[in-house]
């Protein structure tokens, strides 16, 4: 959304800073929402005593771990595509966008591969507090991944036509920031929900 607004300004250094400040504030705000969710998780877990509660089998870890690596890698790829130096290499941004979109989709597919068997095995959102937290947090995050993918997708035409070249342009930069944010949230979630 910030990207849209920022686009109203010519991409001078001044307006780049402005949309950067705006996006930082937006992400701070977003972090507080996820912060609230993690807070809820912490309280419920402290209250439960034994974890996982009511004899639920512990969650799989291998796939989620793989997924974490996928997202981290996607962030790395995207970063290389949007940093200033990429300006020089035409097509660098387009390539990075495509790769990131692919990796992001892989993440969602793998998420399904985690959810479906669990759901089939009778571990559902309504089967106790553990299920509520697991599905509540991971699905809500997945929706953000979708949003992130959409934000990157709309950049593709510009990148193909060469109108968008690199993170020097606010639209590219803020979308990339959002993607990194979503990845960062996932890392925390992976540690909190699967490992701890």
């Amino acid at each position: 959304m910030t990207a849209v607004a920022a686009a109203r300004f010519p991409s001078t250094e001044e307006s780049r800073r402005t949309s950067f400040v705006g996006m930082v504030m937006a992400l701070a705000s977003w972090s507080m929402m996820f912060g609230g969710l993690f807070f809820a998780y912490a309280i419920l877990r402290l209250k439960a005593g034994t974890w996982p509660p009511d004899g639920v089998a512990p969650l799989p870890r291998l796939l989620p771990l793989a997924n974490t690596l996928v997202l981290l890698f996607s962030s790395y790829v995207l970063h290389r595509g949007v940093r200033k130096e990429a300006d020089a290499r035409p097509g660098a941004l387009l390539g990075a966008l495509k790769a990131t979109l692919a990796l992001g989709s892989v993440f969602l597919v793998l998420q399904l591969a985690v959810w479906v068997p669990l759901w089939r095995s009778g571990f559902r959102i309504d089967s106790g507090i553990y299920g509520s937290i697991f599905y509540g947090l991971t699905v809500f995050h997945a929706l953000h991944v979708l949003a992130g993918l959409a934000a990157l997708l709309v950049l593709v035409p510009g990148a193909r036509s060469g109108r968008l070249r690199s993170g020097a342009q606010s639209r590219v930069r803020v979308s990339a920031m959002f993607w990194h944010f979503v990845d960062a949230v996932w890392v925390v979630m992976f540690v909190a929900v699967y490992l701890l």
């Binding site: 109203r8 705006g22 509660p53 507090i129 509540g136």
Partner: protein, 600 residues
């Protein structure tokens, strides 16, 4: 300070106009008045929107009062229309959703749109010398998201089982399917989530605008206190509304997808959740929220007191800093709303002490307000009357906060009318009067017409008197032991002797409601027939008064160069007039360029 050449040199490098180039004024009706991106138009949209909800919420308040004073009798006219089947008498279910929606609408859809939506939008760019908000599209989206939210709230009145009825805090498990099976509560969640998103969009925009678009020379400590207040509010909005969003999101999951975040107790088959968790999430947001509501009012009043005392704001910096300190403290005191839920004593004691700390900065700017009037040359125009009124009722509201902040007395006063009196004195009195002051003061700049002073003064006196009676009366019955949210008091013998007080509170409330028509009449008639407003009718120096009323689409032909603070009144070196515009160097004759910029 007269010589501004160093400033010019200082800002020669920065390229303000490249960013704030003048957008051509939109021509089509839709892009101009409906989906407008002009902060001045959006401000007007928010003002109408908020006033409409104020009228609705106020009318509901009148019926609430009627029910308390005259249980079992029909509210004149409206009663028969709304509840024909009960002969016009408000049924208990309706009462519950009335106070729930009254609170929700007043806070999120009346006060927030008026003070933050309307005046935030109008004042930030004009007062800091910018051509518009940093993100005009986001600004437009913010308003229309809010309209969507308001629609959800209105619709919820007409669904089966009616609107939400679990209190404006909507504590689970009452707000889960267990207690509120109807669609009303779900719509309430949707509405709160949407209006929250709208607030966050606005907040991000406001913060960025203040950080990035201040005119050259406009340091943070040259900003009018109104901007300070709105800016701090925006920061709280951006950081704490998301926590409420998280809370209602989980509540939504519990209601629609059968999760168990807040479910517990023998009545629900599968427990394991924690209803108290919601209270934490709610109040982590909820306490900052009350300062979100009052910080703009504090800022505006601080400015107006100085403007009409024709005297620089006393201890300007101290006031700005105390408001910032309160903003910070408001993040760490929320537990004082939960003294009786069974929190650990240690936590309660911590929250009590932190709560008490707030009265230090409060006392500081309170005293600065008095200091500003002291030895001034006070002009009692309507906005000034309302500002002084704010100081008066906020003293009452704030001091009653202390009764509630101390655990031993709060255990008795919690969830009593004492709390209701406290928060109406702060919100419904201080903030509402602050909003009126702002409307009377900036109406000329917004609409280019003056409001009627005589009607305005009458409106003030016929409001301040009953409003004090109403809410102090609530304090009285509160200490008398009356719980809040009572459909009627007949069930309890220990409340009978309070009935006379309740009757008088209701009379005063109806009087209060009636006197608001003076405002409606004044507002509407001034719109059409008010006398033309000059560029600077109040003779003050902040930047919005250096441009025509109403300002052109792009606000400033040339981005002003700020050389003074916002409150340069009665400067000994200034002859002929007693005020200095923020961009007006003292020895104007030596600064033709600046005089042009000042538009004088």
């Amino acid at each position: 300070m007269a010589d501004t050449t160093h400033l010019r040199r200082l800002y020669a490098g920065a390229d303000f106009h490249a960013e704030q180039h003048i957008h051509p004024e939109p021509t089509s009706f839709v892009s101009r008045y409906v989906f407008s991106m002009d902060h001045k138009v959006i401000a007007k949209q928010f003002l109408w929107y908020g006033l409409a909800f104020l009228a609705l919420g106020g009318t509901m308040a009148m019926m609430i009062r009627w029910q308390i004073a005259h249980p079992g009798t029909a509210f004149p006219v409206l009663g028969e229309l709304l509840w024909p089947e009960s002969g016009g008498v408000m049924p208990p279910q309706a009462y519950a959703s009335f106070f729930t929606m009254h609170g929700t609408l007043m806070i999120f859809f009346a006060i927030t749109p008026i003070l933050i939506g309307a005046f935030g939008n109008l004042l930030i760019p004009l007062m800091i010398g910018a051509r518009d908000m940093a993100f005009p599209t986001l600004n437009m989206l913010s308003f229309w998201t809010n309209v969507l939210a308001g629609t959800a709230m209105i619709v919820s009145f007409f669904v089966p089982m009616g609107a939400a009825a679990g209190g404006w805090q909507s504590y689970p498990t009452l707000s889960t399917l267990a207690g509120q099976p109807g669609a009303g509560q779900t719509l309430w969640i949707a509405g709160v989530f949407l209006t929250g998103s709208a607030s966050i969009m606005g907040a991000v925009n406001y913060i960025t605008t203040v950080v990035r678009l201040r005119a050259p020379g406009m340091g943070y400590f040259q900003m009018p206190l109104s901007v300070w207040g709105i800016w701090l509010t925006a920061i709280l909005n951006a950081l704490f509304v998301p926590v409420l969003a998280a809370g209602v999101l989980l509540l939504f999951l519990d209601r629609t997808f059968g999760s168990h975040f807040f479910l517990a107790g023998a009545a629900v088959t599968k427990g394991g959740g924690d209803p108290i968790l919601y209270q934490h999430l709610f109040w982590i947001f909820g306490h900052p929220e009350v300062y979100i509501l009052i910080l703009p009012a504090w800022g505006i009043v601080s400015d107006l007191l100085s403007f009409f005392s024709r005297k620089p704001a006393f201890g300007y910096k101290a006031t700005a800093i105390s408001m910032s300190v309160i903003t910070f403290l408001s993040m760490v005191v929320y537990g004082h709303h939960m003294f009786v839920v069974g929190m650990s004593p240690l936590l309660s004691q911590g929250f009590m002490t932190l709560t008490m700390l707030i009265s230090i900065p409060s006392a500081v700017f309170f005293l600065n307000w008095l200091g500003t009037m002291w030895r001034g040359a006070i002009r009692f125009a309507t906005p000034m009357l309302f500002s002084v009124g704010v100081v008066f009722v906020f003293g009452l509201g704030g001091l009653t906060g202390l009764h509630l902040g101390a655990i031993s007395s709060d255990i008795y006063l919690h969830d009593s009318y004492f709390v209701v009196g406290h928060f109406h004195l702060t919100m419904a009195a201080s903030v509402l009067l602050g909003a009126f002051a702002a409307i009377y003061f900036w109406f000329p700049k917004m609409f280019g017409k003056m409001m009627n002073e005589t009607l305005g003064k009458w409106h003030f006196w016929l409001t301040i008197v009953p409003i004090t009676v109403v809410f102090c009366g609530m304090l009285v019955v509160g200490y008398g032991g009356m719980q809040r949210r009572l459909y009627n008091t007949d069930a309890y013998a220990f409340l009978q002797h309070l009935h006379p007080v309740n009757v008088w509170v209701t009379r005063a409330a109806l009087f209060l409601g009636a006197s608001q028509f003076l405002f409606v009449v004044n507002f509407l008639s001034s719109l059409v027939a008010g006398k033309k407003a000059s560029e600077n009718p109040w003779e003050v120096g902040t930047l919005e008064w250096t441009v025509p009323s109403p300002p052109p689409h792009h606000n400033f032909d040339e981005i002003p160069l700020v050389v003074n603070g916002p409150h340069e009144f009665s400067h000994p070196e200034v002859k002929g007039k007693d005020w200095l515009a923020q961009n007006e160097p003292i020895r104007s004759e030596t600064e033709p360029a600046a005089r042009a910029a000042a538009g004088s």
